[in-house]
Amino acid sequence: MKISILGGRLIDPANGLDQITNVHIAAGKVIALGDAPAGFDAGQSIDVNGQIVCPGLVDLRACLREPGQEYKATIASETRAAAKSGITTLVCPPDTDPVADTPAVVDLIRHRSMQAGFARVLSLGALTQNLEGKQLAEMGALKAAGCVGVSNAHTAVNSTQVMRRAMEYASSQNLPVFLHAEDPSLADGGCAHEGAVSVRLGLPGIPGIAESIAVARELQLVEQTSVRAHFCQLSSERAVKMIARAQHDGLPVTADVAAHQLFLTEMDIGYFDSQCHVRPPLRTQRDRDGLRAAVKHGTISAICSDHQPHDTNAKLAPFPSSAPGISTLETLLPLTLRLVDENVLGLSEAIACLTCHPAQIIGASSSLAIGDCADVCIFDPEQYWELTAEGMASQGHNSPFLGWEFKGRVTHTLLAGHINFIYDSRK
């Protein structure tokens, strides 16, 4: 189908574009900007006056719960929520059940996502077999199966020797390693940031140094092995500063942050709000400000959702026994836009944190130049809406943002030139 997107403000950070123009699409690709080519006969024209047109969003971490926990969510349910949120590419961590340590699991995930047809799902392969931190996973086979990186997810690799070997091997496969930096013994048994709130509520704490000590080890191993390393979902100012220094020293290191970490702090736990139980934990105002500064200065180049949908019962437990994680696909763009309103980022910078920067980390591109794949997100930046459980498309309604008012609503999402979401105001 040939589509013309007319009159929108095209923001394409990869190409430094921010202008009101038309985008013409045919055969899944952008074929012209501005005037339509001679003889172009659009099957569908979308008038998006006053709206913003940008590349489809790329989310570096979304747990889709399939295979293994389909009672929480499925690839179909979550990719549909992604389409509704303007996200066209999702990166799925390997901690599925079974673990994505063989091509079969990676193939299954890709197959299911193509069946659903709402978003492109890319996999991270396991760094070690069954994420046990002992034997290396077959990274070559995983790469051949389409994995864009390797990771041990939230399971720590205790042995520094195994981690070193894993990084060396990944480096020779030219695969980036995605790291969740948390020292397992310092974090053991903890469920909230060790500080003012955990002492008041008597919650077992996870100190900030659980992150920074792990970052210190991994940075030295990166230096040793020259592997491309990506630090996932940082939570502490101290860790961010260490990464900034490493980048300054020329190490091949990138980092992302989960959008909720830029807005919530330990204080939001209030009296045991299990919706604020996340890993890494919400930390202090100072950490939150440090993370914002790092996004502003580019130390953290990508903002991800760290989407973790849960069934209702998973959160209906005393705080320490509740399952950590937030269902966040639908708040990724609006929270990032809020950073623009709060003068942390310019609009184009904010969109870059959701498009070309994360794409670059997984070796992909996210751009709407002529010839590029037509993954497009169109949103109305002035439209206000409230997040409600009933209004969520994700199967997981676990969000501390329920009841928040957001500005900026996705009206259309195109995946490879196909419209796979249109906002219907009557619903």
């Binding site: 060790e194 500080g195 003012a196 955990s198 002492v199 008041r200 509520l201 008597g202 919650l203 077992p204 704490g205 100190p207 209030g270 009296y271 045991f272 709000d273 299990s274 019962n313 998973a314 959160k315 209906l316 437990a317 005393p318 705080f319 320490p320 026994s321 509740s322 009841g403």
Partner: protein, 335 residues
């Protein structure tokens, strides 16, 4: 947004008792005053010995829901409820069986269907009482009898009651809480109670491994030296040291702990001469306290236990919304 103070109703009255934090000074004083009116109920030596029960909670059903083992707390709650003429149901849940959220809330719904009026809850997870209070039917009250490391409000109230009976005023007092502050819900509730009541100097005394990060934010001074911490203290509160703290590299040995932080007559010399020694029990003789002190004239440990009944009667009657009445006027009805 969630209502901040779950335990108060719209008029600011106690609807549940989940934590001391957030209570006003006058609310604590009211509970202590009410407890004074109950202190002789059931006491055979007392002037009005014939008053064994008051009918304040007649027709009400109190469920003691204990997910953790307890002797004194459970027993005194049971006695308190019975002396208020309530029907009492005791449910002990085997702690080894995993009681997760779903079954916990399911169980509550079943109990609600049996038309109970109050849950007295003890649970190993911090926040369990809050969770239950959030989900019970509007006519049901929840009293926290200890949740994880978070709070044990009735224990703190009975300690305040005991201190007030001996010392009168709180304002001039220096109080030292000694021991495992990190894992202690009792200490957290005591700290909130003592700071709300406005004592002049509140100290916590323990090695760094047993002091939680940023505890100063709760309004206490931290001491690692027992002698310094006890100097001129009016009240010394010892905390129980769980045996399992020897694992996990928190302490080298019981012997060394007793050497440095065990309360002995010798260490108590630096405190005020009329110092009172308290302990929420059960005590580990020779670990955190020497028998000579525990059984000595300055110890009020057993008195704390009996005061626990009056304080729990006060809390239960106030939370269930009946104004306290003078027991003597009710003698006839009570018999």
């Amino acid at each position: 947004m969630r209502r901040r103070n779950l335990q108060l109703d719209e008029q600011g009255r106690l609807r549940h008792l989940l934590t001391i934090e957030g209570l006003k000074r006058q609310q604590i004083v009211d509970i202590l005053d009410t407890a004074e009116s109950f202190i002789n109920v059931g006491d055979q030596q007392a002037r009005n010995a014939q008053v064994r029960k008051v009918p304040l909670l007649r027709g009400k059903t109190v469920v003691n829901l204990f997910f953790e083992a307890s002797t004194r707390t459970l027993t005194t709650f049971e006695l308190a409820a019975k002396r208020l003429s309530a029907d009492v149901l005791k449910i002990n849940i085997n702690t080894s069986a995993t009681v997760k959220g779903e079954s916990l809330l399911d169980m509550l719904q079943n109990l609600e269907a049996m038309q109970c009026d109050m849950f007295v809850v003890r649970h190993g997870d911090s926040g369990a009482a809050h969770l239950i209070a959030q989900h019970v039917a509007p006519h049901i009250s929840v009293i926290n009898a200890g949740d994880g490391r978070h709070a044990h409000p009735t224990q703190a109230l009975l300690d305040m009651f005991t201190i007030r009976r001996h010392k009168g005023e709180f304002a001039p007092l220096t109080v030292a809480i000694v021991g495992d502050i990190m894992h202690s819900r009792v200490a957290r509730s005591q700290i909130h109670a003592l700071t709300t009541l406005g004592i002049s100097d509140l100290r916590v005394v323990a090695p760094q491994t047993l002091i939680p990060a940023q505890v100063e934010g709760l309004g206490v001074h931290v001491y690692h030296d027992m002698k310094e911490g006890l100097r001129d203290a009016d009240v010394v509160i010892m905390l129980r040291l769980q045996k399992e703290r020897m694992q996990g590299a928190l302490l080298p040995s019981e012997q060394e702990y007793f050497q440095d932080y065990g309360l002995t007559e010798e260490k108590l010399v630096v405190a005020k001469t009329d110092v009172m020694v308290m302990h929420p029990g059960p005590i580990n003789r020779g670990v955190e306290i020497d028998s000579e002190v525990a059984d000595g004239p300055r110890s009020v440990i057993l008195e704390q236990v009996s005061n626990g009944i009056a304080v729990r009667m006060a809390v239960m009657s106030m939370v269930l919304g009946r104004p306290p009445v003078d027991t003597e006027e009710n003698e006839g009805a009570a018999q």
